[in-house]
Symmetry: C2
Subunit: 227 residues, 2 copies
Amino acid sequence: MSRKVIELFYDVVSPYAWLGFEVLCRYRNVWNMELKLRPALLGRVIEATGNKSPAMVPNKAQYMITDLDRLASYMNVPVCQPSHAFEVMFIKGSLPAMRFITAVAEKEKDGDHLLENVSREVWKRIWSTDQDICEPASLSEAGLKAGLSSSEVEELLGLAKSQPVKDKLKQTIQEAINYEAFGLPLIVCHVDGKPQVFFGSDRFELMAHCIGEKWLGPQPFKPTSNL
Amino acid sequence: MSRKVIELFYDVVSPYAWLGFEVLCRYRNVWNMELKLRPALLGRVIEATGNKSPAMVPNKAQYMITDLDRLASYMNVPVCQPSHAFEVMFIKGSLPAMRFITAVAEKEKDGDHLLENVSREVWKRIWSTDQDICEPASLSEAGLKAGLSSSEVEELLGLAKSQPVKDKLKQTIQEAINYEAFGLPLIVCHVDGKPQVFFGSDRFELMAHCIGEKWLGPQPFKPTSNL
């Protein structure tokens, strides 16, 4: 069986994307798969496809608060609903954060260990500890917590404003749109050369069935052998 | 442990509601629960809460076709995507069908065997065999297939136009809205006197966790004993 490639298009502004990110990171060594983290931008995807934020419908926004609480607890991801998140969602936007994360992805040559850690640290700030993610100092703190040095963080903050990184983010957004995204997270499973696209973080059981893997819940056992 | 009451607010215009309906009917004898089928009207819920049909966003509509195909196969419900469904969704509406189904619910005194069967037969027409569900003759056919006699069907078609049935449907819609519905299906689990509300047909694993039951997938084994 050839290794499946699973791409996760995400934006830290989405708490559902965080849930999907943690679950897929946990399944890295459970499923026969290579995970590709694809930092993108939710706002642009929504804008480009004529969708609107689910949070614009009051009952839906209210439901999402309950839904997220329950999912966070069940999936063991420390999502809570802090005030900064709403400021980022509706006023400031996540563009600087996603450019910074894209810069990390571009700079990291060997694997995506740093990309994973930095993404998680930024998510923690906005969706768990209620801290800003828009200012350079905030992204710097997240980078340091993720294991980068001060000089690396400085370099990445500069790189985040460069044309190649801006272009790379645009290109990733376009790739998501080419998969007919209308929101994020978008999970694209490449099995036998065919992409299978799943929107959201609530299709893992179905996804496992479709790609011939086993769903063991959001907190799978870590196998100690290949058996 | 007291028996849980699970209410399913649904409209036959929604294929996702059909999936949820079949799964809950299968779990009737697996979970310690009493299922209450609550025929409502999706259009009114959407209208009343400022939501819009997901099918209005082209990429989302396209995704739903794929999503439904995969879910139908995985859940073993014969949903396909016939032309009548779109006519009902966007032009004719499901009001006469849901009034007819409400009449069945009102007339049935002992259990909801007929309500279940009639709902399923109407769903089959619109979402599987590509047949009309708007004309009285169509609802009549569905009723006969569900085990009603010709005279019962005649009576129910009359009853469907009566004020008490119109009022009952309105009341059910209002109950769904009181649970902060923004769409259907809406599943309300009453456990220890507290309602837990789940939207859609993709939260069964989470729901099981929240209500203290076990999720065995969309096609659970039927237990042969209480062990």
